[in-house]
């Protein structure tokens, strides 16, 4: 085998000047801009870290078993926990999920698979508008629709208010999840003689399921932290939830109520509840990421 020797003499100069040099303006600017971008990133992340740190600092003291099991303390009562508020939050969010998930998924399936482009554009616009409605307005709406009509603050009214907030989020994420399934796969199903309904039910939805679940999880996390709609609907109580048509305590409203009272015990409970709520949201985000890893088709493909 003949080996190829590096070219001698004159051609060698072509390879000179390839070494990194900070004296060159491009290299210097590169460094400066990278530095600026990195600093700004740090500033952007700062609020998250500060909130987390402060909530942990203030809340960790009361973060114990009692927090989860005890009833909410009254004004001058010592001890207690937020057990009834956790139950209330779970109940309200469960109602909201039961209402919003079937509706949103069916709506998204219609949008992505069955509607004509014109109608789809309008419905997408409408769902975006709905997701832009401030949550306090949604709360007042649910108040007018349910609380005034039934004559009572209730868990159900709160569930409906949260469902209205979750609806556009799940519609949008499911719509996007369905659109990520390649057109090819729809065609593959069509050419083996599947009807559109069979294709959606047996191929498209299963393929999109991990991404849909992610969207639902994030919507639930968002709803769990909503306060404004619940102030008008579930109101508050100290006690364990006694029924769908009764006012019930929730974590978010508990924090809102107790953050401004002059009683130290209740303030501490509010901080512990904040920590709990933040952890809940963080954990569901992690859970959502974990499900997404199992998806067949993702944005990166």
């Amino acid at each position: 085998m003949t080996s190829i020797a590096p070219t001698q003499n004159s051609d060698q100069s072509a390879a000179q000047g390839m070494d990194r040099s900070f004296a060159r303006p491009q290299t210097l600017m590169d460094l400066v801009w990278t530095g600026i971008a990195f600093t700004l990133l740090g500033i952007a992340l700062l609020p998250l870290l500060l909130v987390l740190g402060y909530v942990i600092f203030k809340g960790i003291g009361r973060f114990n078993l009692d927090l989860f099991t005890q009833q909410i303390p009254a004004a001058l009562q010592p001890g207690g926990g937020v057990g009834s508020a956790i139950a209330g939050t779970l109940l309200t969010v469960a109602i909201a999920t039961l209402i919003s998930v079937p509706l949103s998924i069916l709506a998204a399936v219609y949008l992505s698979e069955f509607s004509s482009k014109n109608i789809a554009d309008w419905i997408r616009f409408a769902t975006n508008a709905l997701s832009g409605v401030p949550s306090i307005i949604v709360g007042i709406f649910a108040y007018g629709m349910f609380v005034v009509t039934i004559g009572k603050f209730s868990a159900l009214a709160g569930g409906v208010a949260l469902a209205i907030l979750m609806l556009p989020l799940i519609v949008r994420s499911t719509d996007e999840a369905l659109q990520l399934v390649p057109q090819d796969v729809r065609w593959a199903s069509a050419v083996v003689g599947a009807s559109q309904f069979q294709t959606v039910l047996q191929v498209i939805l299963p393929a999109a399921l991990p991404t849909i679940l992610t969207g639902i999880t994030l919507a639930i996390a968002r709803a769990a932290g909503e306060t404004a709609p619940l102030i008008f609907t579930t109101l508050f109580s100290q006690f364990w939830p006694r029924g769908l048509f009764e006012p019930i305590p929730t974590l978010a409203v508990l924090i809102y109520n107790f953050a401004t009272v002059p009683f130290q015990n209740q303030q501490e409970i509010a901080w512990a509840a904040s920590l709990l709520l933040v952890l809940l949201v963080l954990l569901s985000s992690l859970f959502a990421r974990w499900i997404t890893r199992k998806s067949f088709y993702s944005q990166s493909q």
């Binding site: 482009k117 729809r186 065609w187 593959a188 050419v191 003689g193 191929v203 393929a207 067949f296």
Partner: protein
Amino acid sequence: MPPETEKKSADQQAKNQTEAVLRTEALKVFYGDKLALRDVSIDIPKNQITAFIGPSGCGKSTLLRCFNRLNDLIDDCRIEGKAFYRDKDIYSSSVDPVEVRRRIGMVFQKPNPFPKSIYENIAYGARINRKENLDQLVEKSLQQAALWDEVKDKLKESGLSLSGGQQQRLCIARAVSLEPEVILMDEPTSSLDPISGQKIEDLLEQLKEKFTIVIVTHSMQQAKRIADRTAFFNAEEADHGDRFGYLVEYDKTESVFKQPQEQATKDYIEGNFG
């Protein structure tokens, strides 16, 4: 075999060769207002491989999708003229496109297995078509697609875990499993490496004994190697600069490549185009 029977079977064969399974009459396809394909009249004979060749945008894939009404799934796509499967007008209002697709299978350019297990990739279509003995059917179809030996121990794994060539053979197995009379193939080897492509070409030679195959290909070599008949399509500029395709020449593959009747065909196969 007595000579008479032999003659008869030869007659039968001759008849088969002229028997058209698919046929179009002055077929026009529009996307919105734009003409995509102009006046195609073509007969596709039974148990042969018919290749559609021609430059990009000449409408050969569009024509292929007319035969199983897949163009129905494309918004704005409109068809004029007639297309027949046997003697049935497949665009007649009484025809159910789903039923058309059960008789005319298809394999796409990019392998598109379902995001399901290898087994389910075949069983899904079989169930929809109410086939029985799924285990047997899966094995038989995978064998027909020359894939069985490679996947028999991992039928539960995802179809997407296979290599590109294997995925494409899985898609062929999926098409074959429904025992259609015709299999349409839209550039089935163009996204594969040459060795995987070769395997599929070999496979097509075997499959044509049972199926009628229509294949769109960008490779003239491929058409020369495997096709019994070849149709050459060309694209032309319309007034507004939009391009539409039309059928230039259609004959036995040998004739098209050795004695093309049209100058456009001659230019294309000699590489003097564009």
